[in-house]
Amino acid sequence: MNEIKSYSEAIQYIKILLGDEFFGVDIGIIDNIVRMQRITRVPNVAPYIKGVINLRGEIVPIMDLRLKMGLDEIEYSKATRIIIIKTESYGKIGLIVDAVKEVVALEDEQIEKVPYDSTEENHFVSGVGKLEGALISLLDIVTVLTDKQIKEEG
């Protein structure tokens, strides 16, 4: 309880690992974090959509965040997790990440906004947080979900 209280001034992020970089996902939009499970492939969809899973009776589409971010596909390990996020326009969507680390709290002054630049590969990132010498790129989930992959279109 105390811990949570001390964070109350700041926004909490779940720190996730993707490749060799840490990313932060706003805890407010996270519904759940589940282990890797059997994914049913859906034909004729974008390559980064891995398929759908059964989340307690609900069908939830799953996206591989590595593929979406332009990283290479790796084999899923024991550390692989699916972060289920809740969105207003699409309902629940799962994101496959390499590992989930911990909850961090970042205050405004710890976050450096990055200018939006669609040509850069880091345009899914809304800001960079600095915590104990490490950098955490904060994911802009809306862009992650809505942004069409440029490669795919071409």
Partner: protein, 703 residues
């Protein structure tokens, strides 16, 4: 009082009552004298008024009150219904419907007073006493009417003439006449600026009472006291004074605009003399007749307005109330019982699990649990099912209105209103059905009666709406004995619009040409009419029905009529399906789409025009390799026979090649969600017993 919590109930019940009124008034139109119907209408109108009043919807209450008044008089036998008042009543129902729609959309009834309708009602009440018999039992009074027409200049100040007397009053009048007293009818007009109408009326009353005895008043004395009258009221007085004296006495009261009056004649024959006496100064039948001609016109003029208004309101704001399903209490009891059984099953399972060495017992309990859950599932589904009655009930009224609008004689026959469908389907099916019915009425039934006779058909066109259950489907048919579809006209229209090329037109079958009608912006109506024919329509019907996982097709014979058939799944949520394996993945194919399952030797697959086909008992049908469509590797061995699932879509067939059959299973359809809902061949997903997700293949999209 805060009544918002009752809003849902109010809207539901108002709609029910309005529907009831619509049906009953239609019946009344057929049998104007049926007391049961009149009583039922009165009851429904009264309930509606009471509810509107409680909820604080003053305008709605006012309008219903006026309608109720009409029926109160009709019930008492003082006035008779006729065609124009039926029209006005329907107009009134539309207006009430508008109030309800407004309330549903915004929580407010809107500010349309509908005073024109109220006025028609009041005029009716005031005038019907004589004009109704004049119109309906015309023969009886024909002599009198003629006489009057010659003698009387028109003017409609004499509403007192329209008062109808009951037997007791007639007796009193007769007696008074025998005693040599004057029976004087008066219609008093209060000035428009008058503030205390009731007080003025009271003074007139008092003045009349000084002269003699008031035997009838219209509206009733109580209503006058409550100021429930417009600007005029009528009285009948038995007095020694002459009509002129009485009129003078009434005019002595201030703020009275004018007074019309004369000797009351009770029955035509006896009172010929009295009539001759008054005819010069007063009106006769001509005025009400004029009014009657005017009324239907008014109806047509004003009806589009209320119809247009609610739709606007609905679009503007989100409905303030949620949709509800009314559930039969028995269904709920069933559910309750099943839930208690479920709890018992759980408890037995717990005790079986904690008792050692009871392996068999656990299995037994699991079986029990299985049967309970299956039943529970069925019962919950039943709760969602509602009869299509609620939708089709409004159609007789619509056809009646169309009949007047299009000036064609037609009759709607309905059957199977009790057929049940999922609530969501029932909600959506109304518009497509309405469209098809309008289509039949407008384009189907010939407007030329002679043509119908030549074709050996009765003068009155028939439209049928039949619903019935057929296996796992519900079939709704809209049929007419009208013109049918002119295939040549469709073809030339299609060519003109460049929908098809001349070469294509050559090779198309009749059915294919007819199917062109379902293309967007295709209407063969020569004239764009109010009823149908704006070129939006059949394609909307088709897409709507397809969005409900149904299908629509049409059979027609030129000159004889056409039949539209809508086929809908019984429920959207649960279907019987065939589970198959393709490339190691499990898929479900809706059983309703499957015709047969065939085992095909590899040699039997032939290639025609680059497409693979098989010859199935004389039918050449294309085959689709599901693994290619789904983008996975087939696990079929090289020389193994192909397993082909033959699916149908309307009259078209296609064979889906799969790897392996698993079996038949009842599946619960779940949406894939908006995020990846772009795949056309996948209509949804389901969760299998082991928690795995299987996708549902929409064979219709493949054919």
């Amino acid at each position: 009082m805060d009544v918002s919590q009752y809003l849902d109930i109010f809207i539901d019940e108002s709609k029910e009552n309005l529907q009831n009124l619509n049906t009953q008034i239609l019946e009344l139109e057929q049998e104007p004298g049926n007391m049961d119907t009149i009583n039922e209408i009165f009851r429904a109108a009264h309930t509606l008024k009471g509810m509107a009043g409680t909820m604080g919807y003053k305008r709605m209450q006012g309008l219903t009150h006026n309608m109720e008044n009409v029926f109160s008089e009709v019930r008492n036998g003082t006035v008779k219904v006729n065609a124009s008042i039926i029209d006005a009543l329907f107009q009134c129902l539309d207006a009430l419907d508008e109030y309800v729609s407004n309330i549903q959309a915004t929580g407010d009834e809107g500010d349309n007073e509908n005073s024109n309708i109220i006025k028609i009602f009041n005029d009716f009440l005031a005038s019907k006493g004589e004009s109704a018999p004049a119109a309906e039992a015309g023969e009886e009074k024909a002599d009198k009417a003629e006489e009057n027409k010659e003698a009387a200049p028109a003017g409609d100040d004499d509403h007192w003439r329209d008062i109808k007397y009951n037997d007791a009053q007639m007796g009193v009048i007769d007696k008074a006449k025998n005693e040599g007293k004057n029976v004087i009818g008066l219609t008093v007009y209060v000035q428009e600026t008058c503030i205390l109408k009731a007080a003025r009326a009271f003074l007139v009353y008092k003045a009349m009472e000084e002269l003699g005895e008031i035997i009838v008043s219209n509206p009733p004395a109580q209503d006058i006291e409550d100021e429930k009258f417009d600007l005029e009221f009528s009285l009948v007085v038995i007095t020694d004074a002459t009509p002129d004296q009485a009129i003078k006495a009434a005019l002595n009261v201030s703020e009275i605009d004018r007074v019309a009056g004369g000797i009351v004649e009770v029955a035509a024959g006896e009172e010929a003399e009295a009539e001759a006496e008054t005819a010069g100064t007063e009106t006769a039948v001509a005025a009400p007749e004029e009014k009657k001609e005017a009324e239907p016109e008014k109806t047509t003029e004003t009806s589009p307005a209320p119809a247009a208004a609610p739709s606007k309101a609905v679009e503007k704001k989100k409905p303030v109330v949620n949709r509800t399903v009314r559930v039969d209490i028995e269904k709920l009891d069933d559910l309750m019982n099943l839930v208690s059984e479920l709890i018992i099953a759980k408890n037995s399972l717990v005790s079986a699990a904690t008792t050692k060495g009871s392996g068999n017992n656990v299995n037994e309990q699991i079986e029990y649990l299985e049967s309970v859950t299956t039943n529970l599932h069925e019962s919950v589904m039943k709760v969602r099912m509602v009869p299509i009655e609620s939708v089709v009930n409004k159609f007789p009224r619509m056809i009646r209105d169309l009949q007047k609008k299009l000036d064609k004689k037609m009759e709607l026959y309905m059957s199977g209103e009790e057929t049940e469908l999922d609530r969501t389907v029932v909600d959506e099916i109304g518009d497509p059905l309405m469209h098809l019915l309008r289509n039949s009425a407008d384009h189907g039934i010939e407007s030329d009666v002679k043509l119908r006779k030549e074709r050996g058909k009765p003068e009155t066109g028939s439209i049928w709406l039949d619903a019935y259950q057929d296996g796992n489907n519900v079939v709704i048919e809209v049929k007419d004995d009208g013109n049918g579809i002119d295939i040549e006209a469709v073809k030339s229209k299609a060519l003109e619009r460049e929908v098809i090329t001349p070469e294509q037109a050559e090779n198309m079958s009749e059915q294919e040409i007819i199917n062109l009608l379902f293309l967007p912006s295709f209407s063969t109506a020569k004239k764009v009419s109010d009823v149908s024919g704006r070129g939006v329509g059949l394609d909307v019907v088709k897409s709507k029905i397809e969005s409900l996982s149904g299908e629509v097709d049409v059979k027609t014979k030129f000159g004889e009529g056409s039949k539209w058939t809508i086929r809908l799944p019984l429920t959207l949520a649960i279907i019987q399906s065939l589970m198959v394996k393709v490339g190691g993945e499990k898929y479900a194919v809706p059983l309703g789409n499957i015709q047969t399952i065939e085992s095909v030797v590899p040699d039997e697959i032939k290639t025609v025009q680059g497409k693979e086909v098989i010859n199935l008992r004389g039918n050449v049908i294309p085959i689709i390799r599901l693994n290619e469509v789904l983008g996975c590797e087939s696990l079929r061995q090289e020389n193994e026979d192909y397993v082909v699932v033959v699916c149908k879509k309307g009259d078209a067939l296609a064979g889906l090649v799969i790897d392996e059959l698993i079996g038949q299973q009842e599946i619960v359809i779940k949406s894939l969600g908006k995020y990846i809902n772009k795949s056309k061949i996948i209509s949804g997903a389901t969760i299998l017993g082991d928690g795995e997700v299987a996708l549902i293949i929409d064979s219709n999209a493949l054919i």
